[in-house]
Symmetry: C2
Subunit: 327 residues, 2 copies
C-alpha cells in the first residue's frame, strides 16, 4: 500500500486544525473543530479532548478521500512543553484536564491506528515555516510568535533545539531587568495580550476614547489584534505607546539573541504580527540591527514575517512527522 501522506494537527486554545498533506507540503484536505466541547460537563475529561482531536484528523482524512492506510504518520503541535520521546504533554495550562500532563502521543496513536509524534505548538510552527515557509533557505532560525503571550523556538543546523528538560524556546519568559527593579517577563510587554491589557485599563479609565469607540462598534469588549490595528490607524496615542514599547522590547530581544547565538534568520509570526504587518516589523528590524554588537554583515541577519499563516501548525506537524519517522 502507498503510504505517501501525512497528517498535521494543530491544537490551539480555541480550535483544533488538521490537514492531510504530501511530504512537499501540498495540502489535500483540511478540517477544524472547537477545542472545548459544547458540553461543559465533559471539558475536564482529558480523553474527551483527545477524542475530538482524533475526530478532526479523521474528518480531514475523509475529506481527502483516504483512509488511515494511506498515511505514514501524524505530527501534532500541543500547547505546552512536550517530551517528544514519550509523546507526553508535560502541562498545558490553558486546557482543562491537561494541566497536570497528558500522554497524547500514545493515546492518539491508539485512536488513529498511526504513529503519532507530538511536540509543543511553537516548535511545530517554526518547523513548518523552516521547512515550507518564510525561512526554508536557512538552517539556523529563531522563531518569535507574538500572540496572547510571546512564544519562541530555535532551529540550529536544521534541527529543533529542545533542551535537556524539554524547556528550550521559552523566550516569552526572558526577563527584563533593571538595577533596583524586580525582574519581569518580556511577554508582559511584548505580546498582544500585554497590549490588550494596557488598552482595557485605559478604556476603563476613560483615557482611550478611540479604543472605547471601536469596542462599542463591535459590541464585544475583546481587544483583538484587529482592534489594535484600527486604533493605530486612528492615531490613538495609548495604543501607539503600547505598540512602540512592544516593538522596542522585541528589537532588544532580537539584538540580544543575535549577540548570544548569531543565527542567520528570525521569523516573526502570531496574530499581532499578521495583523499589523510590515509597518510593525520594519521598525523592529531597523532597531534590532542597530543594536547588534558584531557589525560585519549585519544587513544579512534576516528578520522575516511568517508566511504560512494558519497553516504553519498543520504543515509543521507534517514536517515533525517526517523528521521523526525518517529511517
Amino acid at each position: 500500500m502507498n503510504t505517501a501522506y501525512y497528517i498535521g494537527i494543530d491544537i490551539g486554545g480555541t480550535k483544533i486544525l488538521a490537514a492531510v498533506a504530501t511530504p512537499e507540503g501540498r495540502i489535500l484536505a483540511r478540517a477544524k473543530r472547537k477545542t472545548l466541547p459544547p458540553d461543559p460537563a465533559r471539558a475536564a475529561d482529558p480523553l474527551a479532548l483527545a477524542q475530538r482531536i482524533a475526530q478532526t484528523a479523521q474528518d480531514a482524512l475523509a475529506k481527502a478521500g483516504l483512509d488511515a492506510g494511506a498515511i505514514r504518520a501524524a505530527g501534532v503541535g500541543a500547547p505546552g512543553p512536550t517530551n517528544i520521546h514519550t509523546g507526553r504533554v508535560l502541562n498545558a495550562v490553558n486546557l482543562p484536564g491537561w494541566q497536570e500532563g497528558f500522554d497524547l502521543g500514545p493515546v492518539l496513536s491508539e485512536m488513529l491506528g498511526l504513529p503519532v509524534l507530538v511536540d509543543n505548538d511553537v516548535n511545530v510552527g517554526l518547523l513548518g515555516e523552516a521547512t515550507y515557509g518564510a525561512t526554508r533557505d536557512f538552517d539556523d532560525v529563531v522563531g518569535l510568535f507574538v500572540g496572547t503571550g510571546l512564544g519562541g523556538a530555535i532551529l540550529l543546523g536544521g534541527r529543533l533545539r529542545r533542551g535537556f528538560r524539554w524547556g528550550a524556546g521559552e523566550v516569552g519568559h526572558t526577563y527584563l531587568y533593571w538595577p533596583g527593579k524586580k525582574p519581569r517577563e518580556i511577554e508582559k510587554v511584548a505580546s498582544r495580550g500585554a497590549i490588550s491589557k494596557k488598552l482595557a485599563k485605559a478604556v476603563r479609565q476613560g483615557k482611550s476614547p478611540i479604543v472605547a469607540e471601536l469596542l462599542a462598534q463591535r459590541k464585544d469588549d475583546r481587544i483583538t489584534s484587529g482592534v489594535i490595528r484600527r486604533a493605530l490607524a486612528a492615531g490613538d496615542p495609548v495604543t501607539r505607546k503600547a505598540v512602540a514599547q512592544a516593538q522596542e522590547a522585541l528589537a532588544v530581544l532580537i539584538a540580544s539573541i543575535t549577540n548570544f547565538l548569531d543565527p542567520q534568520a528570525f521569523v516573526l509570526g502570531g496574530g499581532l504580527v499578521e495583523s499589523l504587518g510590515e509597518p510593525f516589523l520594519e521598525p523592529i528590524r531597523e532597531r534590532a540591527r542597530a543594536l547588534m554588537f558584531v557589525r560585519e554583515r549585519v544587513e544579512e541577519v534576516q528578520i522575516l514575517p511568517a508566511s504560512l499563516g494558519d497553516d504553519a501548525g498543520v504543515l509543521g506537524g507534517v514536517a515533525l512527522a517526517i523528521e521523526q519517522t525518517r529511517p
Copy 2:
C-alpha cells in the same frame, strides 16, 4: 617522529601565556611574557605582537626540552571575534595594531612552522573547561566569564557555537531593557569593570571610606577583584550593593538563557568569580533556579565555578588544536 604534543597560547590584554601539553591536558612546560612590548614605539606594529607570541611559544617548547617537530599543532585564544577558518582576528579592541583585524593564524603558522588554529579567548577558555575542567561531563554548556567585561561562550552537543558571522557568545552585550528607559548592556552592571567604576566614583565622592582606605594601603588606585573582596569582608555598603546588583543581573541572565536554550550546565569564571568564590556564586545559583520557567529537574541545572584558573586558556588552546586537526 612522534608528534604527540600540542601548544596552547592565551593572548590576554596584559600577558601572553603559552604551554606545551599532552592531549590529555597534562602540562609539560609554561612560559609567559607581557603583551605590550617594553618599547612603546613598537606597540602599534601588528607583526611585533605576533613575534612576541611566537617567542613565548618557543620559550615553552625550550623549557619542555622539545622542538617544533614534536608538536602536532598550536591553538590560540585571541582577545576578539575570530574567523576560525582563516585564522583572522576580526578586531581586538584592546590591542594596538590589531583593531582593524590581523591574520594571526597564517602569520603565526609561518613563524612557528606549525599548524596554528585561532579562536576568540572566551570560546577557547570554555573549550578548556569543557574538555579538561569543571564541565567535562556535559555536552551543552554556557560559559560566563566575569572580568573587565562579561564574556560568554556556548557549547552545544560538544561543539562550540560560533555563529554565522563568528559573533556568537557575546553575552556581555545582552541588553537590559525597561519600558521607557534606554537599553544598556549587561556588562555595564555585571562585571568587575562595572563594579570598579562605581566604587571609584564613590571614593571620589567620599562615599566609601573603606575602599579609600584599602587603596591607600595598596598605594595603587586600581580597584581589583582583590580590593572588592576585601571591601565586602569589611562590610562596605557601596561594594555590597554593586556586587548584589551584579549577582542579580547574572542570575536573571542565567534564568533567561535557561528559558531560551535549556542547557545542562553553566560554568562561571573570570577574575571576579575566582576572587569572590562560592559566597558570590551560591546566591546567583539559588536566585537563577528560582527564576527558571520549566520547574522539572530545576535542581539538575548545573551552575559551576571554573576549575582551571589561568590554565583554562592554554588548555583550551590545546583542545582547540585537537578539535580542529582531528582527521
